[in-house]
Amino acid sequence: MPDLSEFLTGSSESDVFKERQRVIEQAEKDLPASDVRKKEIELFAPKDLLTFFKWSDVTTYFDSVKIYFSSKEYYGLFRKHFKVSEYLEANTYHIEHLIAFLVALEKGYIKIEVDGDDIILKSEKPFELGVTNG
């Protein structure tokens, strides 16, 4: 589950990255190889490419962005927050973090403002999310 707060709040990715690598390198000294592999799976789960975006750039990168819903509930959640004219689609096979994003909207952690063609996301304070994909 990508940590949405990291890229929204602009905290140092470099520090997080270094810390993860340090933990693994220490594990390599202390643990048998199979446990190191497990630790890697825990810490280095693949990021979705959208985590390389800044959300404020989404409209720059894509003319249109598509979301593929794996269940009706997600679609319902989506429709609750977006009008079709504000259609935000993501070119991604994995939507967990988008769902997290929608949940964050629902809980009021993120505010969305539309200024002409720009969609502006605002976060009042750092937050953490945990979402189980259905």
Binding site: E13, S14, V16, F17, K18, R20, Q21, I24, E25, P32, A33, S34, R37, E40, I41, L43, F44, A45, P46, K47, L49, T51, F52, F53, T60, Y61, F62, N91, Y93, H94
Partner: protein
């Protein structure tokens, strides 16, 4: 797997080795080589060559085995060893076939060709058949630039020949050595000589003045990382001038036999390799599983730092960290070599060269166009060699991945137009955004409607520059 199953799996490569120990070539039927590699999108030596149609060794990680394991021609009783036609090769490289496309696009320009792509030039077949010897003399007498990629012991027989041709320095030698443990190596690289032998061969060829490269490909976690310090020390000891690395990739579209060998490889390494790859690979890249960047960083860091500190050319053919290449060739050929500039006659109309320049520009403080990857800059990025990308016959004859094309479309397709299709499809594993796992991201379109990608700095780069003092703008 029960004990009997393991025994059966282990016996297969040994049987392969036994039947191939002294196999002779078919006298009449020849193997068609060279050919244009399907990796031309980011390969500096896309014209590849093999002297035989398969290899006598049985390395468990062999990418060629993944492809060949699915080829019915290479199974069962009908298996036939073929060699290239040396006389035809002679005509081809000396201009006696002026209408030949390889002459037109490559040989007439003294392109450096890689020898040893899907097979080993010096495996057991060479001992019995000696086709390679004739070819070495052909290329040596013509001072034609060749880069060998080998493991095989028969290179030892040809050291006097290489001594004879050493003044021209038209040969480059790259040996695959992916770990130092000889016991584990003998179980994984079944039939190949020991890592120590291969280092010694590189050492002797280096003493003759040839450019030598350690091919750390594939880097297999659980083997290559153990004893990595010793491996790098050997590079110093044998004065190796380049290191080219790439992590093992697991192709989930493979035959049952290959799948069993991979499972056994995981046993030998001590972890469930299939689960590991499934859990840690980006699914954006399709069924050809490559571990994500974060898993690889600590070893890339170590090898890159070694190269940086010891004036060794770092090459990375892995799409992850490909931006770190120190030359336009991810096989670790140099940018310049005054003793024989022809060994730098590789193509630059490919993404490896351009991605390297974006990274260098970024860390030299440039922005805007200088850090953007544009389709036109790639396919027209090498006035000397780029014309092969615009030829439809080459695509139709040589390129293997044509499954999405109708037969009628193939005749109108060129390598460049095929590349364009990938380039603009953000769902394709070959789109630069997916292939380089977010190292470049789309920022708009050019005047021809092609996506323009921009270099994205990643956290590792800040870490390396600030904490390790590495200047990423240097090479």
């Amino acid at each position: 797997m029960d004990e009997k199953e393991v025994q059966d799996i282990d016996n297969l490569p040994l049987e392969w080795l036994r039947v191939n120990y002294s196999r002779t070539c078919d006298a009449k039927d020849h193997y068609s080589s060279p050919r244009l590699s399907s990796e031309y999108l980011d390969c500096s030596m896309p014209l590849t060559f093999d002297s035989y149609n398969f290899c006598s060794y049985s390395c468990k990680y062999c990418f060629a085995a993944f492809f060949k394991g699915n080829n019915p021609m290479l199974k069962g009783e009908g298996l036939q060893l073929k060699s290239v036609d040396v006389k035809k090769m002679e005509r081809m490289i000396t201009g006696k076939m002026p209408n030949d496309l390889y002459w037109k696009f490559f040989f007439s320009k003294r392109y450096i060709m890689q020898w040893g792509s899907m097979a080993d030039p010096f495996c057991n077949f060479e001992k019995t058949n000696k086709v390679g010897e004739q070819l070495i003399k052909l290329f040596g007498d013509n001072k034609y630039p060749i880069r060998f990629s080998f493991k095989g012991q028969e290179i030892q027989t040809y050291l006097p020949l290489f001594e004879k041709y050493k003044e021209a320095k038209n040969f480059v030698f790259q040996s695959s050595i992916i770990g130092v443990d000889p016991v584990l190596a003998s179980k994984i690289e079944v039939g190949a000589p020991s890592p120590d032998f291969r280092f010694k061969m590189l050492g002797k060829l280096g003493e003759m003045g040839y450019w030598t490269i350690l091919r750390l490909r594939p880097f297999v976690i659980g083997f290559s990382d153990i004893g990595l310090d010793e491996l790098l020390e050997n590079c110093k000891k044998y004065k190796i001038r380049g290191i080219s690395m790439e992590f093992f990739a697991l192709d989930f579209k493979c035959s049952k036999e290959v799948r069993k060998q991979v499972t056994r490889l995981g046993d030998l390494l001590g972890y469930d390799i299939e689960r590991y790859y499934k859990d840690l690979s980006s699914h954006r890249r399709g069924s050809y599983m490559r571990l994500n960047r974060d898993v690889k960083e600590r070893w890339v860091r170590k090898i890159y730092k070694f190269c940086y500190d010891n004036n060794v050319v770092f090459g990375c053919s892995d799409p992850d960290y490909k931006e770190l290449n120190m030359s336009g060739s991810c096989c670790a050929l140099p940018e310049s070599f005054p003793e024989n500039p022809e060994i730098c006659n590789y193509t630059r109309c490919q993404q490896t060269d351009k991605l390297r320049l974006l990274r260098r520009n970024y860390w030299r403080g440039k922005r805007g166009d200088d850090i953007q990857l544009k389709f036109g800059n790639v396919v027209n990025g090498d006035p000397k060699f780029q014309d092969f990308l615009h030829n439809n016959r080459l695509f139709g004859n040589d390129i293997v991945y044509k499954t999405s094309y109708l037969t009628s479309e193939v005749v109108n397709t060129t390598p460049a137009s095929c590349m364009r299709k990938f380039w603009n499809n953000l769902r394709s594993p070959n789109a630069p955004m997916n292939y380089f796992e977010g190292k470049v991201m789309p920022v708009g379109r050019d005047e021809d409607g092609n996506l323009v990608y921009e270099y994205k700095v990643h956290p590792y780069e800040e870490y390396w520059t600030k904490d390790l003092g590495i200047d990423l703008g240097r090479y």
